[in-house]
């Protein structure tokens, strides 16, 4: 467990560094998702081979909230898909580390996303395809809470229930903010757990920035074999560097990198 927490800290450093170096990007949206992504990649939940990204029996992670891709690149670099140095090429011309995930350019990316709302449907398709081939693959999809406003997500929830896709897990990164403000002000969706449950899914609600709760929930989800599982992951946007964002007077800090001085403060917070 302490190893996972240590890994999470390193991912957070990468996220802050690479977006500041890029001069654009979504660090706060990436930071809220760190515990879940760390547990999936390094907690033994996802089976993958970094040196054989297309290994057919691999588990798959689809980042439907594609703008948070720095968290995914950071995990992939730490897992050995590519060198940690490459993280600093984020968003630069010629780099496969684009501003949003592009499966055509970077092996190991399971879905090209960036238009919100489509990842869970892609996950349904991959879950159906893998099951058809008798593969053991499990598909994990992460959406944002603002993203849940897209009707397509709810269409996908219904299809997963129809086909009883036990090899599909949705994680809603409920960091309580979206682009133009607090999710409860922009579009208050109420209790995600109740709504998703009503679609026939197995649902857990956790503190998604608590590594122990994340690991426990992923274990529980693995034990469910008759339907799709969802984890409503209550998080904080910018978790890990919140004091820095508070000082800057913007806890949402959507879609902008830390200016160099703020990066120094953030890295100091993330030093231990």
């Amino acid at each position: 467990m302490s190893e996972l927490k240590e890994k999470a800290r390193i991912l957070r450093q990468h996220i802050c560094r690479m977006t500041t170096e890029a001069g654009s990007g979504h660090p706060s949206s990436s930071l809220s998702a760190v515990e879940v992504v760390t547990a999936l990649f390094f907690g033994g939940f996802m089976k993958y081979k970094a040196d054989e990204p297309n290994w057919p029996d691999r588990d798959r992670f689809i980042l439907s909230k594609g703008h948070a891709v720095p968290v995914l690149y950071a995990a992939m670099a730490e897992a050995g898909y590519f060198g940690v140095d490459e993280l600093l090429t984020l968003r630069k011309l010629g780099s496969p580390l684009e501003g949003h995930p592009n499966m055509k350019r970077l092996a190991g990316i399971e879905a090209s996303t960036g238009s919100l709302g489509q990842g869970l449907s892609l996950g349904v398709g991959q879950a159906l395809g893998c099951r058809l081939d008798g593969r053991p693959s499990h598909i994990y999809v992460m959406t944002g809470d603002g993203e849940m406003g897209e009707g397509q997500v709810w269409e996908a929830l219904a299809s997963a229930d129809k086909y009883k896709l036990a090899n599909l897990t949705l994680i809603v990164d409920q960091n309580r903010y979206q682009q133009t403000g607090a999710a409860k002000d922009v579009l208050d969706m109420g209790d995600f757990a109740k709504k998703i449950e009503a679609f026939g899914w197995h649902v857990q609600t956790i503190n998604g920035n608590d590594m122990d709760e994340v690991v426990q929930a992923l274990k529980t989800a693995q034990g469910v074999t008759d339907r799709s599982t969802a984890i409503v992951s209550k998080t904080q946007k910018g978790f890990g560097i919140l004091p820095v964002l508070e000082e800057a007077g913007d806890v949402n800090f959507h879609g902008k990198p830390l200016p160099p001085a703020m990066l120094e403060q953030a890295l100091a917070l993330l030093a231990k």
């Binding site: 011309l93 684009e98 501003g99 996303t113 009707g151 682009q179």
Partner: protein
Amino acid sequence: MHIGEISGYKLGQATRDAFGDALKDLAAEFPDVVTVDGDVGNSTRTEPFALANPERGFNVGIAESNMVSVAGGLAAAGKTPVVASFACFLLCNAFDQIRMSVAFPGLNVKLVGSHAGISIGEDGPSQMGIEDVALACSLPGVSVVVPADGISAKAATRAMLEHSGPLYLRCGRPKVAELYGSGIDFEIGKSIKLRDGDDVTIIANGLMVAAALDAAHMLEKEGVSAQVIDMHTVKPLDEEAIVAAAKKTQRIVVAEEHLAHGGLGSAVAMVVARSGPGRMAFVSVGDTYAESGDADGLLEKYGLTPAAIVQAVRSVR
């Protein structure tokens, strides 16, 4: 070095900023106008209008299909909805809603797409609207306007609100050269000749108008006299101006920040094919998606520069 600098134009407002300013300024004059947003009002610049007129601004969240049909409903209830998102999400995500809730019933909905083209830069291809003009033009009764600078974007915003019927206004993210500092006479469907010439006609819209003017400057040094037309309205197209240009120069180059198929180039080619005479060349993003990178680097790599237009002119001479 920004596009337009060779011909002496200073950087001015981004077209999205000019649209946002104009919309806010026109709020009192057009009391039926309301905005419908999908959680990106601070990007499309509808936000100043909505903040100043909170009861007239509706943000439905990240739900573009719903957003467009809600706008259709507002129009059917007598309002003049301005519905805005990134060009790609508005046109691509909600295309059937634009078809059935706006175009087919001919409702008075104003569609505004920001972040058009590849000049949005680092966010990358998933956020770039490069098929939007083709999609919008394909719909019967929908007018399509692509302003070249801040001043024409302001004028286009007013014209859009005065216009009756569905209209798509395409705006960009970066600051662009100010071409109409000395004023503009803007009319939907009426192109503007910004430079006269005898040997070749360059027809462009959006960001590429400034590039065309730069190209004309460069061509002048080679002894080639190029006229430049700002074809800010792709639909209805100013056919008269195109026929006249074909007659005068025979050679026509079209430049646009859009995919090769279905945009301004295709529209102009249909007219030239009918009227003749002419040989044409096309400057566009081509038949490909772009990538992440800085805007200038992308425009260079994907051939949307004055030099690329000069090259195209040489190819038809």
